[in-house]
Amino acid sequence: VTADLEADRPFDEPWQPRVFAMTQALLETTGLDREEFRSRLVMSIADDPKRPYWESWLEALERLVAQTGVADIDELARARELH
């Protein structure tokens, strides 16, 4: 459609489409309202406007997971330490 499409692709690194797809999958399987995620993305961006966009997205997804009881913070921390 436009010549600059390649230059501003939505993703820069392989983890970014995964975190995006994980979010969609989680909303689907848990039936959580999309606004539950969107409101956390808004907060995450507002908390640190200079942070790269997909890192804010990841932060919002982690908060959604922890705050809605999908998993607890310790569980996430342990999953990081185990590897």
Partner: protein, 185 residues
């Protein structure tokens, strides 16, 4: 792996262990989104230019008209706003990055930038001019702020001198930037 990639991998392990996501589901979602892009929106616009009844349906209920063309997405309402000689429309999401995925795909980097999100509301004419679009003073600029439930697509004006083009040729003329409202078609 970078620290942030490790965080993603850790989260993925937790969600997989709980059976909430699988590789198959993640791959199918990535694949589904790779099929969404501005070529879909361009087909809606070209159809609206050649078929006035479709144009009216598109303006009345964008989501239904998009689904009619086979472009369904997980988002809520799609509102199509039409450029005229009197009004130029432009779309922004001031708080995050809401965008009509089914018809435009995922947003480009500039759409998500703090500068675009703040300035398109505060000084749209100046920003549009910097982006290469000079809107005449006589034309009103209407800025639409997106939300999770309500996303916008601009229906650009059909360029003059395109009377002989087919619907398919017209669709090739339509750009993503034109459908966000930061360029003319």
């Amino acid at each position: 792996m970078t620290p942030v990639a490790e965080r993603v991998a850790a989260l993925e392990r937790v969600l997989k262990a709980k059976g909430l996501v699988t590789d198959e589901v993640i791959d199918s979602i990535v694949e589904m989104f790779s099929q969404m892009g501005p070529m879909n929106g361009a087909r809606l616009v070209a159809r609206a230019w050649v078929d006035d009844e479709f144009r009216q349906r598109l303006l009345a209920d964008g989501k239904a008209a998009a689904v009619e063309m086979g472009f369904a997405g997980p988002e809520g309402e799609l509102v199509v706003v039409e450029n005229t000689d009197a009004t130029h429309n432009v779309v922004v999401c001031t708080l995050c990055s809401c965008y009509p995925w089914a018809v435009l795909g995922l947003p480009p980097r500039w759409y998500k930038s703090p500068a675009y999100r703040a300035r398109m509301v505060r000084e749209p004419r100046t920003l549009l001019r910097e982006m290469g679009l000079d809107v005449p003073d006589a034309v009103e600029v209407q800025v639409w702020d997106s939300s999770a439930e309500k996303r916008f697509l601009v229906l650009p004006q059909r360029p003059t001198g395109t009377e002989s083009l087919s619907e398919g040729e017209l669709a090739e003329r339509v750009t993503r930037d034109g459908m966000v409202g930061v360029a003319q078609v």
